[in-house]
């Protein structure tokens, strides 16, 4: 081994579940409903800092590893509520996009292109929602595998020891 990094990570919102603005809006509503606060990307519940949020195409919570266990229940509540709200938000978003696209019917080329784009977007959203409904460990594993492949790694999942998921990423050097 040359370097080690130890992280306490929670995948709160899967990549592609909603466009970024909608994802953040729904996420903030969920936090409010559960009595949590996002203060400068610090997630706070009952006056306690749970961890730091990184909001990009997905929402990641990084925590102090020593305190992860005591926050697991809260993380699952956030993930679960977000999955439910995101499903509704997806339907609203797709409906609105369909309405917009229907208005461009006079230009058939443009209409067909937009319909195809929306179909791809729908598929991404459905996959992300399925992932959101999985256990956090499994969902994180899937997103890491995708990121690794996109970064040029070959990925092998090795045997499950003590309920752990282990991934081996390798990049051949010639």
């Amino acid at each position: 081994m040359s370097t080690t990094v130890k992280l306490g990570l929670g995948l709160l919102a899967s990549k592609g579940i909603l466009p970024k603005e909608e994802m953040i809006e729904v996420f903030q509503e969920c936090l409010m409903e559960l009595g949590c606060i996002n203060q400068n990307n610090r997630l706070i519940h009952n006056g306690t800092i749970i961890g730091t949020l990184t909001i990009k195409d997905r929402i990641i919570l990084s925590m102090n590893r020593a305190n992860v266990n005591q926050h697991l229940q809260q993380i699952e509540k956030i993930r679960g509520l977000f999955a439910h709200r995101a499903e509704v938000a997806q339907k609203n978003y797709i409906y609105q996009r369909e309405q917009q696209i229907n208005q461009s019917k006079h230009n058939l080329d443009s209409y067909n292109k937009l319909v195809m784009e929306l179909e791809v977007e729908k598929q991404v959203m459905q996959n992300a929602l399925k992932r959101q409904k999985k256990e956090v460990c499994e969902a994180l594993k899937e997103e890491l595998i995708e990121a690794a492949i996109n970064n040029g790694y070959e990925v092998e999942e090795i045997s499950n020891k003590n309920s752990q998921v282990q991934l081996q990423l390798f990049r051949r050097v010639y």
């Binding site: 130890k6 992280l7 195409d57 997103e143 690794a148 991934l167």
Partner: protein
């Protein structure tokens, strides 16, 4: 020869990332790049290999007599 990144994810959200067959700081660059779209990673623990150089390069002068 391949360079490896090993990732263990436990049920309680504990993620351990380790590199194998790397020498020098390239391992840090690769981990940062891999996790770039997730979060900023900067809490590295380095082992001896980290401080070794990637390749031995000869920088002297060869002279023919």
């Amino acid at each position: 020869m391949s360079k490896k990144i090993l990732i263990s994810i436990s049920q309680d959200n504990d993620v351990i990332v380790e590199t194998e067959d790397y020498k020098g700081p390239m391992c840090v660059k690769d981990i940062k790049q891999l996790f770039n779209e997730f979060l900023e990673v900067d809490d590295f623990e380095h082992k001896a290999e980290y401080y070794e150089s990637e390749e031995e390069t000869y920088s002297g002068v060869i002279s023919k007599l």
